[in-house]
Each structure stands twice: as C-alpha cells, then as structure tokens.
C-alpha cells in the first residue's frame, strides 16, 4: 500500500524552496523539473522516488499540510507561530535564520517598560498579541498591516512594530531599532499528523537523513 502512494512536499515560494531543494539533493532527493526557471507548472513529480513537490505562498504551507493536501512542508517558524495549524514540527533546517522583534524609534523603549497601552503594527497579529498579552502582560492595540510595516511608527500609525529582523539594515535606514527580541526564527520541516503515522517509515527515514546532513554541517 505504502509503495503506491506519492509523498507530497509543499515548499514556501522563493529562497526557502531553493535552499530546501539544495538540502534535499544532499540526501539524494532531486527534482530536475523544478530547476527549470521558465516553467509554468505548479506541481513537479519525481516518479522514481514517488515524490511530488509544489510551491505555495508561505502562510498557506501549514494549511496544505494540516489538511493532508501535502504530507510534508517547509516553512518559516514565523508562519507556524502565526498560523497555529496542527502539524508536527519535526526539524529545524537551520537556514533562513532571523529573529522576531519588537522595533521602533529609540524613544519608544520607554513605552515598553510599563504596562500602559500602546499601539503595535504588525504583519503577525497572533505573535504580537501572544507576546504582549501572555509574556509582557501589557495591554496593546494591534493593527494588522500587510507589508512595509516599518512605516507604522514613521507616519505615526503605531508606537512600535513587531516584525522579522534579518540584518536590521531596513530598520536603521528608517531610524528604527530593535527594542526587544521575541524569538529566533528559521526554516522548519512540518509533517501532517496522519501521514506521520501512515507513512512513518519513509518519513522518518527522510528526517534522519536530513538530520545527519545538518549535523555534519554544524
């Protein structure tokens, strides 16, 4: 039964997918179809290994995995925290490292010391809410933005922002700085709960192979 079934991977579009494929190649999983940049295909197949791959928008990857449309997904920890989907988070792939931070102008640091009400702009309202309510016990007004969150404090929409910081250069150029770090982030491999039981052998093999590669890189 298990020989017949294809294992499907959902990969977050962009650099995450490229890096994942590089890593997969090291354990002998290749998908030549996918390397063709000009292709308009949505789904790629490796018939020898019975694997399928597709690219999806980051926040949708956990959704595909939760419903079993994909058995395995690769996505940033930020998306996992924000989407709160039920899937097993089995492996830290080590790349795509960055941090989730509270950022703002220098003067805003003072606002974070007390429990007074502040306004927070973020693409990640769930993460922001959890941090301020459950860890800092500070009342906040959260404003959801969909991009260029740094604008928030600059145009006076919010006091601070909660966003991903990689190098911090965008922040500095706009007169903002990291005020507090919420958590470190990196790419994670997630597995559908049902697939993990039904295809335990194949999936655990992939996991342990990847682990070996990752440990040797350390």
């Amino acid at each position: 039964m298990s020989d017949e079934k294809y294992l499907t991977f959902a990969l977050g579009k962009g650099r995450l997918a490229e890096k994942t494929l590089e890593l997969m190649e090291q354990i002998g999983i290749t998908c030549t179809e996918m390397k063709d940049k000009g292709t308009r295909k949505l789904i790629f197949v490796n018939d020898d290994l019975k694997l399928k791959f597709f690219l999806a928008k980051g926040p949708d990857v956990p959704t595909y995995v939760e419903y079993g449309a994909a058995d395995i997904g690769v996505v940033g920890k930020d998306t996992l925290l924000e989407e709160q989907r039920r899937a097993y988070e089995v492996l830290d792939l080590g790349f795509g490292k960055c941090r989730m931070c509270v950022c703002g102008p220098k003067e805003a640091r003072e606002l974070l010391q007390h429990h007074e009400m502040i306004r927070v702009a973020s693409k990640y309202p769930v993460i922001a809410k959890d941090y301020f309510y459950n860890k800092k016990h500070q009342t906040v007004d959260i404003i959801k933005l969909n991009g260029s969150v740094e604008l928030g404090p600059i145009v006076g929409l919010s006091d601070v922002i909660v966003d991903i910081v990689e190098t911090g250069s965008t922040l500095r150029e706009n007169g903002l700085e990291v005020l507090e770090e919420i958590c470190p982030l990196s790419a994670r491999m997630i597995v559908n709960q049902v697939s993990m039981q039904m295809e335990a052998k194949r999936i655990n093999e992939i996991i342990s192979k990847l682990k070996k590669v990752l440990n040797s890189e350390k």
Binding site: R86, V90, D92
Partner: protein, 370 residues
Amino acid sequence: MIKELVHTPDGVRDIYGEEEQRKLYLEDTIKKVIYTYGYEDIQTPTFEYFDVFSKEIGTTPSKDLYKFFDKEGDTLVLRPDFTPSVARCASKYFSEETAPIKLTYLGNTFVNNSSLQGKLKEVTEIGVEFMNDDSALADAETINLCIEALKATGLKDFQIAVGQMEYFKGLCENAGISEENELLLREYISSKNYVLAEELIDSMINDPVSKELLMMTGEYMGDASVICDMKKRINNDRSRKALERLEEVYELLKLFGNEKYVSFDLGMLSKYNYYTGIIFKAYAYGLGDVLVKGGRYDHLLEAFGNSKPAVGFVIVVDDLMLALRSGHINVPVKAKAETVTYNSNNLHEKLAYVCKLRREGKAVNLVAED
C-alpha cells in the same frame, strides 16, 4: 421587508438528503457493532454545570466552551465531549456496582473553536466507556471494537497508533524531572516538536541513558518490534510494566486477528492528565486530525467521588464521513420511495394497496394522476 434568514452561523450546518442518509447509516452500522460487545445505551443532558467540564476533568480549554447561565446564576456548558458526563453519571448511579459497566452514547458535541479553519463547532460523536475492568483484555477488546466498528463502515486505509502514558511517566520519574517540565516536555513530544524537546532534555538531564531514552520517546513509532527493542534498554520498572502491558494487549489483538491495523507510538502522549494507561488514536487519509481518540483513564471517576478504572474511545461521525469520501468509499443510501398514482375512480383500491405496501415496511408516495 424582513431580511431572509437562510444562513447558519459559522461552524454549524444543515445535513439533509443523501448525506444525512449516509450519516444515519454509519451511526447505525457502528452502533450495531458496539452492541455485539455487550454495550448499553446512555443519554446524558446536552448541557451541564461548568464544573463537569472544568480544567481538572475535561480536555477542552475553558475559552472553547459554550457557556451560559441559568436563572440562579450558575454557569452551564454545552457538552464539548461525553466522557465527563458519562463518568459523572456512572459515579452517581453505579457507585456500588463492581461488575463491568459498558455504556455507549451517540450525540452532538459543541466546541467554540476558532473560525475560518474549516472545522465544525458542532459534530456528532459516537463512543463507548468500559468501566470496572482494568485488565489488558479490556484494553484489547476496546481497541478491537474500534477496529471492527471502522471496518464495518467500509473504511480500509486506517491505522490505530497505540501508546502508553505510564512509559513516559516512568522515564520522567526516574530522571527526576519536575512536574512543570514534564508537562512542557509532554507537549513537545506529543506534537513531535523534536527541536524543542531536545533542547529541554539537554538542559535538564545529565544521565546519558535517561537522556537517550527520553529523546527516543518522540521518534519511536512502528510495529511491535519497537516494544521488544525498548524493553531491553529501559532503566526503570514503571516504564517496563507499561511496555509489558502493551505487549500483552498486542498479543490479545493478534488473537482477534486485527494486529495489522495496529502500530505503536511511544511518543503519543496527552497534554492532559486524563489518560493513565494505554492511549490510542485512529488515523485515516483525508483528515487533518485524528479520526478516533481513546484510552484508559482510571482516575477520571474519582473527580466525581467514585473511583473506577475505565477505558473508552470516541469516533467523530462527521470526520469519518470525510475519510470515507476521500477514500472513495460508497456508503449505501436507501432506495427512493416508490410512487403510486391515483385518480378519482380508483382512489379506494390504490389507498388499500399503498397501506399494504407500507405495512410491509416499504416507502411509498401517493400522488394524484396528472
């Protein structure tokens, strides 16, 4: 003009036509199998006092319960699951009983979960509770009943993963892990978050054997050889006993001839303090979540002042329908009602004919000729 109210709220829906027929057929099929194991029906109220489903007893977070008040100001809750109600009931009516008690229920449960995630807030559950028997045979019979019930519905590709709470608890006790950290570790391991589990284990334990055994808990899943392997390596009696119990249950399942549906997952733990012995879940393709949840909870009845060992499981009928649909498995639907036409001349004889058919149990529509 009055706005037409035709929509249902998010998370609840109308079930009608062939879908409803299929659902009733499944409920009926499962019930029949359950009856063959000697279970008797029980009905409990749709809502109860909040305390029946409180944090110490239930497995639904308080914020996900539908709560309201009665005239005295007591908080009432729409049942999120049946087990606490049945346990309350058994403590009340069967407190003196020492012979095995076998109860089965069927009804809707209500959980106010988050919207827009494609989950229903009202689902139909069918389940069993087997009390006053703490033997391995009771465990095996319960798992086997679950397998037989699923098989009877036509479902083919499913897997029952079995774990044992005591195994993990033994490891933690032996390694001297605090209760707080044990809860945390339990959450990481049961959600197979190997990353965090490893970090936590590393930070708490020095003994390399305990460390390795705990680390392996999460990853150890597979056939019965898992149990054999672990028995050789285990370092404490409590965990060894847990493994022996699993072995015993597995041997019994072999006698039932259903061992091929069973696999082991020692990392299957529950966030809640509810389960005390075996714990099992059924998985099937087409579902994001488990299809069946079950296990042994020997201390639950204590919460209602009456200690009795108990084991049981629950099948969510709505999820089962999804699994069957994704497996392209047909559930029989009843034949459409027969139509008999009449005109003013033959009404008398047609009516008699229709009555005769109906007495035979046939579905008949009596319709006027055009």
